[in-house]
Amino acid sequence: MGEILNVSGLVTKLRNGARIVDDISFSIRAGETYALLGESGCGKSMTALSLLRLLPDGVVHAGGEAQLDGVELFNLREREMRDVRGGTAAMIFQEPGLSLNPVMTVGEQIAEVLELHQDMGGAAVLQRCVELLVQVGIPDAARRVTEYPMQLSGGMKQRVMIAMALAGQPKLLIADEPTTALDVTIQAQVLQLLRDTQNETGMSLLLITHDLGVVAEMAHQVGVMYAGQIVEQSSRSQLLAKPLHPYTQKLFAALPSAARIGQPLAAIPGSVPPLGSITQGCRFAARCDKAWALCNEQAPQWTVVGEGQGVRCHLYSELAAGSLLSVAKSENLQGESDAASVGYPPQVSSYQLLQVENLRVHFPIRKGILQRVIGQVKAVDGVSLEIPQGRTLSLVGESGCGKTTLGKALLQLITSVADSMRFAGQDLIGANVRGQRAAMQMVFQDPYASLNPKMRVAEILEEGMVALNIENNSAERQAHIDRLLGQVGLARNSKWRYPHEFSGGQRQRIAIARALAVSPQLLICDEPTSALDVSVQAQILNLLKSLQQELNLSYLFITHNLAVVEYLAHEVCVMYLGRIVERGTAEEVLRSPKHPYTQALLSAVPRIDGKGVERIRLEGDMPSPANPPPGCYFAPRCAHAMDICRASYPPATKTTATHIVHCHLHGDGLH
């Protein structure tokens, strides 16, 4: 098969001369998926935008060639280029909510592409729009065509985006993090759709992602990008079996999983250097533990290692005589660490720090002039949970299932109702809230929004102590702040800086230090790593783990990332539409899930080991908590739904002493 896209020596510069895409060469064959893998700030998106000549102001194409279907892209005039965009090459973006025009119907937006690139008109356009929507799996397409984007869910919007991209019958589809903003189950649907479409139309796919799981599932060829360069290129199987570049190896090692429980993750120190901050030598040298003098002096050349496999590293160039040796050594290390994994740590008997029974958070829906309450959004609907001292309870679920609301309700940031709520033996209901503030703290999702940009680090850390009268005077507080910064691994002189001077990972460390400042016993972590890169995520997870051992902290870990759950959690609760559907120890829930929803959730996670897990596809989206379906909330999406499921909500069923599931499938035998 011929090559659809052939890029050689692509260079993109900022106006000040910094090279943000530096000498990138790759090619994509027809019907193939090429994945650009890398952390944020590596220049992946800039590469794609360079190819479509859609670079933002201040960024210019500075060299290199790209042939798309035999046409040299950089020689085209702007008018001809417009035919390419959306015609030969189409692009879909990360945030489906922002890529559709909210004041045009879905049909109008697709029709625009058809009229431009397919010379269609009249009734044929509408018919083709419906066909396209059917093709991307949108039910009731004839009606959806006349709807506005706000009437669609996130997964539907991304499908519409794909339909728009397909409308021009492109030979190359560029997908820039197409599933990053979506839930795992929706992500699985969209990835499946992309694969199916590719099989049908034979188009090529340039997939930009930071997720190794997505790469393992989708790609034929992979290019690993770091700081504007492709540092390694190989086929998927080769990459997964034997990553060559130290960066790729580290990326794999930094992934949390059950196999690594009880040992720190191999975090890459530091973070990706800002684009264009070119230094002499290898760009990864500063973070690489295999670097030697040469790496800092001379930039490594592209070295072809095997067929279709190349790497940019001194370890593999002819200059390094002992290359094989070091590869062997690194594999050895890998082996050792595998051997060291001991599975789940033994159960430690400890008392229940937090016990909550039947917690409910209902938001009233008001309507009309008199603001009468016409309904309730049951964001959290009767949740009971216990968190033992020094343990981690993980709360898993898709977005919108009420995880974060539950966390905030526990902190009393949102008013809630509960039958009982006991913390360390004390009743929280009706108690003085302020007195309990110090005992529970929260680490938020977005480290960029959780620190006040106008306050310095010391002031941020001091605030809680002042509010809760911890430490008597300013000098003691300052000493405490120094200790805290040491605990979370920040330099002491960072005290007097503003948050914007820190990277995402460092900011999350500050946020953790802020929570620790008041010596809490329970830390509620609301997706603390979802905004961070894989390598930085590993740093933060290591930190949380060591803090737990050091301070005997309990965590309520709210996340949608099941790999993190496997690594960190002792117990797991799975939430669906405001209710807990399954709970048990991590091993029970993740190894032998009982609830169909948990099973679907687990199977939807892309695995890097590439093992063919039988996929359970969930249809549709989560229903609205304002209007939950009758009976079991999951019944409309469940493959095993029975008549009783649509009639009554299943009661709790104990399958083992610790494992509880709400499902009629398991109810009969044991009750």
């Binding site: 905030k408 929260m442 605030e463």
Partner: protein, 466 residues
Amino acid sequence: MSFMPVMLWSDVLVFLLLAAGIASAWYVRQREHLLLPWRRVAESATAMVSLLVVSLFLLVGLLDTLHYRVALPEKNGGVTVFSPEVLSVFDKLVTTLRTQTEKTYSAPLAVTLYAKESITDAQGRVLRDYPRLRYGGAHLTAAQQQDSDVLWRGLTGVLGGLLVGGLFVGVVGWAKRSLPKRGNGGHSCPPYTWRAVIIATLIIAALIGMTVNLAAAYHVLGTDKVGQDVLYLSLKSIRTGLIIGTVTTLVTLPLALLLGIAAGYLRGWVDDVIQYIYTVLSSIPSVLLIAAAVLMMQVTIDTHPQWFETSASRADLRLVFLCLILGVTSWTGLCRLLRGETLKLRELEYIQAAQSFGVSTLRILTRHIVPNVMHIVLISLVMDFSGLVLAEAVLSYVGVGVDPSMISFGTMINAARLEMGRDPMVWWALASAFGFMLVLVLSANLFADAVRDAFDPRLNCTEVVA
């Protein structure tokens, strides 16, 4: 004593503002991290040049704020009697401009009046010609010498101004170099900032020198209907404009800031009440509201003449009340902006983090919300400044503005209404008011912009922690 200092109400407010400004500058000076953004301001050429211009305006305004009454030569039974006329230090400095009034209109730098009149010459014949001015170009024997005289005086003035300006720059530069560097020593303005400031200083010095030299013999910007020097009127208007711009802010700011962030943060009934208040207030035509309030105040003032010793204090009180009324009616826009911004901020996670520490509401408002809306406050206040100066002009036009005896841009623009309709047109009064206002508002805007940029931490990554 040959004079008695007079403290008018607006003077008190100006001095309070000044004291607050000096106190906060002193406070900031003691704290390195608060000083840092101001250092960045000092590094911006635009900021420093506009600051130079603004401070010249402020200087004129301040000099015009030091009021006094001179003692009359006659004594009344041994008690010194003071003149009923309230003068300011600025008036004293420009006595010639103030006192040398012509009969009526004359063009800038003219030696004759603007309109022909019947003149009886020495022989008793009646001619129709442009009569010579009493003061403008009075030293010239023939009107034909005017061009060369203006050129000569202008040039010498420019040279003199440059000399003084150069001397000033030299002294400041020498003082800066000879003084030992304080603090961490690593900080100094980049050279291009200094170059810009020096050039601006020299240009301004040359302009002032030229004006001063010409004003000694001519009416540089012409005269108005009653023969008053327009340059004098424009300079006197600066104080009125500054007071309307700043004292009104004193009223608007607390109202808008307090109500805006309270509505946005507390929500619930507080939000409802505040929203209803400002929606109602902003749906009443503001001119109507202001006119009603001003007319009521005017009646009160007119029926109580015994409250005021001098006409100046009466005019002044009217100005202060005008500021109050303008302030009470114009806070709604800023309040609405701040409410919206606070609604956005209160959902941010650092606010929730503070709530989970049990930080008090007042502290959250002052530590977290206020600093993060300050950029909006700063920009909209400076933008409002020009709007307020213009509002004063509009109100004076309707007849509810400042006291007719008070000189302001508004009264000047109002007078220009008739002057523009004349044939030939009298353009210089309007042009001067326009020019002075433009320079004042533009430099204030530029300065505020630079300050906002310097205070935005996202634009100022000083050093990235490794």
